[in-house]
Symmetry: C5
Subunit: 332 residues, 5 copies
């Protein structure tokens, strides 16, 4: 599906492109043209390739979803980026980073955006709408400015994704403090996977944008460079945040492991307190349960009149001493 | 709110700027002008942008609180830095790094400082006062020197923040040695978060200052460069300290985990000592509690005259042997 | 064993090379020649060395299986790469990365591939067959394009290997969640070894290809460079994936260790629950098993009419209180 | 306190400097002059600053004890280094790295060393004495050679410090193997702190010396460069050693933690052996302590003539089987 | 001890050098000269220094055993390398990396090798012998080729050392799987120390050789460079292997720690199984060991005719249920 915005002094005109000649007309129209391609057929691809001198490898790169990058061609600058969003799964912490490739081709007086799937990519869609609504003012700043707008939207999406991840980490941290629940670990692993996946998008995008920002791209004009530098700065921040969140996830895991060790320690203390108090007492009552008999030396205590209260008192005293001892060492 | 110091050979004159023409007058005045902007309205922003040829993106960068950086413009050098301070929360270790952006624009014979919020930033305020009090001598060294003074103050604040973090780490270390208290972990996590947040400020600031220090900035004159190099050296030290403190925090966590392991180990030893001594004894007294009867082979011990004292003596001996054994292995 | 494809405008001719003069004829034939060498004898090696001016050290590098690399020679570009595949062992997780060196020599109008062992390397074999089947069209693009096709195939094999490793990691992760089984650890160690071995192949290959991709190689023509850049991009992705998988393996190990700690914690809790409930009760029944007699103070309870039900009730109540307590702390 | 060595063809003359004119005389004397400043008063500082054109910031850097560095000035090269030594505290492992700044200013035919405190820095003192004793031969090689000698001495001190740290690590390792003593952890933390502090000195010193070694410093003559390269090589080695020692300290901590885990494991085994043997036996004797009576089915064993020996024998057999089992699994 | 090979068209002549004039004669002889110095006296050193214009610092570097390096001098290239071998100690895992410095000086038509100790370094010795045996063919390729041969031998020794370390790691891994034996930890620590020591040799050697391999050394001729590149490639591989082995050692440690955790977990399970089964049973038999009497409510069970078999059956059933439960959770 191919559509084109053609901007001329007067305003913007939107064209549906059905044939290669339509495409050529759009390209050669006066003013700035934005050709938007989504879910193109093989023939449409061929036509695009011919009309805009786009190399077959570039189109294949988009289809194969390779790493983001910027490449210079005689006629145009090719920027391959990816949108990224978080797809929540069934359980709380089951989530995954979903990416979709967007190809941007910036020529002398045209820009072409190419997406693979039918469903429109929101970042592209919104800028496309804003061209329609604001009578092409976006295109008035040249094709590179339109490309900047799309990239800016995509990078805004990255910040949204990172916000969601931060929320998840905070939920996990709260969960950790409430008690050592093994589901927390799954959540942390999911977050780590997300950050790894996202880093694989953000790092090369930063590289790709640095090319546009530092003035090496032939089809980025000087006044637009400032804007690309701004997006580049945002990406540096995003990569920074990714690292920070990985560190926080690691911190949450440490706390989790600690809570577990702490809990084991406390369980052991309780066991030890119970055992230390009652095992000796059980021994004592066992002594007076023995059946020795027949002789003045054999358990004479058994027949002393106050033996039972004396023994009970003795055991109570020992217990009190132990309880005080355990309380002093704050085991109780 | 806009105010300006205008320094001329004679001394310093302080002007309140109410309109764009005031602003232009201040800018074009003979001598060096320092324009201080705080919590400016949208109209004031526009006026500033026009009078000092400041690009809209620069002002947006300050508002959006992006990473510190230095950017060169035809008319001026733009430095975006951040003050950092520690905001203590309710509990002992609940603290957070708070940052506030400060924009510095250094022109030929003017310097402009811009802060977003109403409350004055202490670093800017103190230099501003010193200009008033010392009859403008700060401005006598040119606008870049005034910028240096503000940056120097901000970086001094970083050292203050790191001192507070060091104190917290020391408190935690002392706490760790007193016993494995889980609140210690929260404290360590807070410190780690603080250091991560602060690093996100300090690293790019170092980069931003290296541009000023190594003579690449058009509006920094040779004699002032030395001063910027000095601030840059301080920032290198700050980044170093940040890493050192992260390492110390990691060390404190290790000690904490160890104390916990050590404690579990000791708890287990105590349990084992109690169990090893009393469980066999309880078995022995259980034996003589059995009711076998009717036959010379059935528990003849029960009727031996000195059986009871003999058994008690035997158990005492076994206990003594075990106690000596445990003491030798220093379990007691 | 030496064979050659000679491509001329007309089509492709396949020659078996038996003598040095055959080799020279193949080399000097009009059009593009691909000489494929496998398991060559020492004499064949000498002939190749003489005819194509290949340095003895290059041949030795292939035999010694050194790190992948690209080297420039006056007459040709030498690329040493390795195929990598996973050889499954006897047990589930017993697997090993197997590599085989492939030497590529790209000259003006000839390309020579050299493998050490008799068995054909699939990557070379498949391109060789495609030259035969498609009447030499691969060679029509020049010797460097044929080299690209072989490299592309080899790198495709890397992706296959990484897919297998990913499957193994996922199997391990599933195994970990089912319970702490020590065989899981062996599996993780095997994966880590695999990734280490594979990284030793992938990293230098990336370096070797960067030389070809950035236009530094004399025998790579401009139109082919794009293709090498494409393979290079794939290798960057492969190195990335390697790191990601190492991280995932580390994550699986952490989960494993956690599951173990968790399990120990639960075992301890169960023990503590059983001990905390029954040890005191056993003490109580021990008390009433004592044989004190002869006096109003010696165990008068024993003869109270409802003593037994009362004691049993008391013990049941204590047990209930403890069970409720343990359930509240979710120990049960 | 200012003193000066003035070296001329004839020999060395030592002058005490009391006034600014003395200082100027020393500076302008024929031959090479070494001015040594220690604990200078504010006026002396001013005089030095004026006579040798030393910038106020340089003097401040020394006072503020900032990171080591080399800076070029029109008239001289400024090198700021630090001596480092280990100050042992009260307890065995209580030690701290103590540093003292030394400023070196190398001019055309003069060298100036500046230390802050009254007590003489041994490294400076020893070279100063050797100038006196050997009739100025050190100064005969120029002021840069004298600076080299001082730096060489300081770096020798670094090796001494590292030797002491190595000794401490070895003591700790020996202590770890003797048993899990918590004081070991304090020792390791002290070592880690020391290495962190020392690294903060050694790293920038290496940078500072690389400037002198690679011929970028205007006041270092070609024949002296070799010597600085030598000191630089030593510093590279020192930085290397620092990393190695950090790794060894980490290794010692791992061993410590392991010894602890090992000990806990053994304690648990002992407990389990005792409990596994005696708890079932206690149950058995409990059975025959029951008071069932009145019927052929109620504990008929009690009246069998050889019941007691039979039960004892049975229990002994069970115990033997368990002991053999535990010994086979090497738990005993 | 100084000896020299002098190679001329005719063949090789071996000379023992006794005086400075001998040395000069050897140096100035037609053809290529290799002077081998071992355990030289101070006078010999001086003579060498004079005849070959070798700086005192170079000789000192060899004596002081500093880091490997390549340095350019007007007359010669100085390469300092080290042989490395593993010295096995008394116990199995007690081993240490032993290094010995070798100085190589490559001039226009001479090469000088210098070792400190009396005992001959095998790497030098073997090349020396091969010159004798093969009539100087090694020297026919120039002094730089002879240096290459010595370096190649030394690096071969590195591979041997790494092979030994790999064997040790494999022995340790096998030991770990057999059971958690603390001697394993000592072995791992020894391996880690070895790898740290060896890395300190291999890293700078790689740097030193990169200078020779990339054509920066004045006394390495073009045809020899290829050979140095080959040695350099081997060193890159060696450094790689060092890192891989460190990783494997870390992996073995992880497995060890896991085996320990696993073992503790199993010990705890066994204890818990025994305690969970027998502690309640002991309570039950304790109940029927109580001496309540005198009333229909006091332990009427004691006199029921089938009470004993019923209780025994009940306990057997409970035990069976628990055993099945534990088997289902695979605790048994």
């Amino acid at each position: 599906m191919i559509a084109a915005h053609v901007y001329d002094a007067g305003g913007v005109e939107t064209v549906t492109v059905d044939s290669e000649s339509d495409l050529e007309a759009a390209r050669n129209a006066d003013g700035t043209t934005w050709v938007r391609v989504a879910a193109a057929t093989a023939e449409e691809m061929d036509a695009i390739s011919r009309v805009f001198s786009i190399h077959a490898l570039e189109l294949e790169d988009i289809r194969n979803d390779v790493r983001p990058k910027t490449e210079e061609f005689p006629d145009h600058t090719f920027v391959l980026v990816k949108t990224a969003s978080l797809r929540r799964g069934e359980t709380t912490f089951d989530e995954e980073v979903e990416t979709r490739p967007v190809g941007l081709f910036v020529g002398e007086d045209w820009v072409l955006t190419l997406t693979v799937e039918e469903t429109t990519v929101p970042a592209v869609e919104r800028v496309w709408r804003s061209v329609e609504n604001r009578e092409g003012r976006v295109l008035a700043n040249g094709p590179d400015f339109a490309a900047y707008r799309v990239l800016d939207r995509i990078v805004d999406g990255y910040f949204g994704l990172l916000d969601e991840i931060e929320t998840t980490i905070e939920e996990i941290e709260d969960g950790v403090l409430e008690g050592p629940d093994p589901s927390v670990l799954d959540g942390l692993n999911a977050v780590r996977r997300d950050l790894l996946s996202f880093r694989k998008v953000a790092w090369p995008t930063r590289e790709a944008l640095s090319v546009l920002a530092r003035g090496d791209a032939a089809h980025v004009r000087d006044p637009t460079e400032k804007y690309f530098r701004d997006v580049y700065d945002q990406l540096v921040e995003i990569v920074d945040l990714t690292e920070t969140y990985r560190d926080l996830a690691r911190g949450a895991r440490d706390i989790y492991l600690n809570t577990l060790s702490q809990s084991t320690n406390e369980v052991m203390r309780q066991l030890t307190v119970v055992a230390t108090i009652f095992i000796p007492l059980t021994f004592v009552v066992g002594v007076y349960g023995m059946n020795f008999a027949g002789g003045a030396w054999n358990l004479p205590e058994l027949s002393w009149p106050y033996a039972y209260p004396a023994v009970m008192l003795g055991m109570t005293l020992v217990t009190l001493v132990l309880v005080v001892h355990f309380q002093r060492e704050s085991w109780l």
